[in-house]
């Protein structure tokens, strides 16, 4: 499995992950190598095997639908890069 630098740029955009242009080649090589490693999985037939999502095959635990958390907005926003009047600030999305 070989990826192109275009593939890598596309994946990086999907992940919203900035990559320096000069590093794209090396990421492309590393990712291709990783996918070659992963391709060894096809050496075994798994048609009748159920996927295992959890080591103990337990299901998601449910709890009563009650409010248990207290409001800690100020506490959490104290570590945010930019807030104003209790809101997280980001660059303008709509004009």
């Amino acid at each position: 499995m070989s990826l192109t630098t275009d593939d890598v740029n596309k994946i990086a955009y999907l992940a919203r992950l900035g990559i320096n242009t000069e590093d794209t080649e090396s990421y492309t090589a590393d990712l291709s190598n990783m996918l070659n490693l992963v391709a060894q999985m096809s050496s075994v037939d798994t048609d009748n095997v159920a996927p295992m999502a959890h080591p103990l095959d337990t299901i998601q635990r449910l709890r009563p639908d009650q409010v248990t958390e207290s409001n800690q907005r100020d506490n959490f926003q104290a570590i945010a890069p930019q807030v104003e009047e209790g809101l997280y600030l980001v660059p303008k999305v709509l004009d």
Partner: protein, 485 residues
């Protein structure tokens, strides 16, 4: 006998009998951390908080009803959130992150009365096997500073091995407790998936991550696990299973113990001196009356390929929360929202983390999900069934932790795949969710070697018993690196 070579058990006796105070003990360890700061095992030292906590511990001890571990210093891997204290996860992304709450594990050690001296170095977001991906530079291996301490819990292992702290927390997603424990000659335990709460433990691969203790001895690991383990309503995959007394069966006889040796653990990939060292350790068990049975793990060779789909896929999802909006690194003067995300993440994450996010994003993207993620989960079941089958006939499985002792700094950084392949003996255990230990079992060229002991689900007490008995007839775990005696 100097204080810093004492075990938790011995330190507890000294504190409870008033031989020394927690403040004296805490100061002694803080001095050692300062004295050996070039080891780079700590990212943050919390001296002021530690001294205040030690004062409280001394008051409790004086009152005469203090829990066993009260007043004993320790430190946390910097992946555990600590309220009011920087929690970096070894990343530039979280270099400015002051956690607003404690991880459950941190709360539990506070309740147990232990004194945290700070936060330990680690590979960035626990992705790495050498500590070299840390934003803060690699911790050094106290046995030979030209070699890596292992990873990702490299700071924990280095600090315990150098006796800068008597014990530490670590986390293990593909070997991150056991491999550094082996490389640094200490005792490490990865519990059954779900045994220790993941709440406040920064997520890497959520279906594999598990916290556990790193200490000098199995006896101490039992005390640490006792403090850490238990159901936590705040962790949706926490095991609803009673916690036994992990110290109760340490002295059980191993006569008749059935030890499985997977032939795939001893194939051509294993360094011959390593094979000899592990065989010598197994012989000690034979002398104690254990019986050796050959078992087979036919799917073991697929563990690394499956892991490098599952772990990156889960990490690409988990690390989406690092977006430069609510906490962590934010780029300057973003042009628009996309630019904010792309540059904040591009600047905040290191190369290895980026590789894994990219592979995970690819594996989860439309059209590839079945071929990669579902396929890997199917392989995961086959591997898990290999272990289940073996554990029907034996009590524990043994083998090496690593194919070689600690490798050199920089030796494997040029080729990430070579670094990944060195985790062949540890990764399969995470995929199966089983508990496993690394126990010091000798040296090759003055570099420590770890014996791996793998058990059935929730059989931590059995593992600790098996490890403790070995430590009664060997003294590898008592060796201290030169310059740190």
């Amino acid at each position: 006998m100097t204080i810093h070579t004492k075990t938790l058990k011995q330190l507890s006796q000294g504190l409870q009998t008033g031989e020394y105070s927690s403040q004296e003990l805490t100061q002694a360890y803080l001095n050692r951390i300062q004295q050996h700061s070039t080891l780079n095992s700590f990212i943050t030292v919390t001296e002021t908080q530690a001294i205040a906590a030690a004062k409280q511990a001394d008051a409790l001890l004086a009152a005469g009803n203090a829990p066993l571990l009260t007043g004993i210093p320790m430190a946390h891997k910097d992946i555990f959130c600590t309220q009011g204290i920087k929690t970096s996860c070894g990343s530039k992304m979280l270099d400015n992150f002051i956690a607003p709450y404690n991880a459950t594990v941190v709360d539990k050690f506070n309740t147990a009365g232990m004194i945290s001296l700070g936060k330990l170095n680690m590979d960035e977001f626990a992705m790495g096997s050498s500590n070299e991906t840390s934003f803060y530079g690699s911790a050094l291996n106290p046995w030979a500073d030209s070699t890596v301490p292992g990873g990702s819990s490299g700071g924990s292992a280095a600090a315990v091995a150098a006796r800068l702290i008597p014990a530490a927390t670590g986390t293990d997603t593909g070997g991150s407790i056991r491999q550094p424990a082996a490389f640094c000659g200490i005792t490490g335990l990865k519990p059954t998936y779900g045994r220790v709460s993941r709440y406040g433990m920064i997520a890497y691969a959520s279906s594999l991550d598990q916290g556990g203790p790193m200490a000098q001895t199995a006896e101490d690991a039992a005390l640490m696990l006792q403090a850490m383990a238990g159901f936590d309503a705040k962790d949706s995959t926490s095991a609803q299973q009673d916690v036994p007394d992990y110290s109760a069966n340490l002295n059980d006889s191993l006569k008749g113990l059935k030890i499985g040796l997977p032939k795939e653990f001893f194939d051509e990939g294993l360094n011959s001196e390593m094979a000899t060292t592990i065989e010598t350790a197994i012989n000690e068990y034979k002398k104690m009356g254990a019986e050796i049975v050959e078992v087979s793990m036919p799917h073991l060779k697929l563990a690394i390929p499956a892991y490098y789909v599952i772990a990156p896929a889960e990490c690409s999802a988990n690390l989406q929360r690092m977006d430069g909006v609510r906490f962590g690194h934010r780029c300057t003067d973003p042009e628009d929202l996309n630019d904010l995300y792309i540059r904040s993440r591009g600047e905040g994450f290191g190369t290895e983390v980026k590789r894994r996010i990219l592979v995970g994003t690819y594996a989860l993207s439309a059209g590839y999900y079945d071929a990669y993620y579902i396929k890997a989960q199917k392989i995961r079941r086959l591997i898990s069934e290999d272990f289940a089958k073996a554990l029907e006939t034996v009590d524990v499985i043994m083998g090496p932790v690593t194919p070689t002792p600690a490798f050199g700094i920089g030796e494997k950084t040029a080729d990430p795949i070579e670094m990944y392949l060195a985790d062949i003996y540890t990764i399969a255990i995470n995929l199966a969710g089983l508990p496993a230990m690394s126990v010091p079992a000798g040296f090759i060229d003055n570099k420590p070697v770890g014996l791996q002991i793998i058990g059935n689900y929730f059989a931590e007490a059995k593992l600790l018993n098996v490890a403790h008995q070995y430590q009664q007839v060997t003294n590898w775990h008592q060796q201290t690196p030169k310059g740190f005696e």
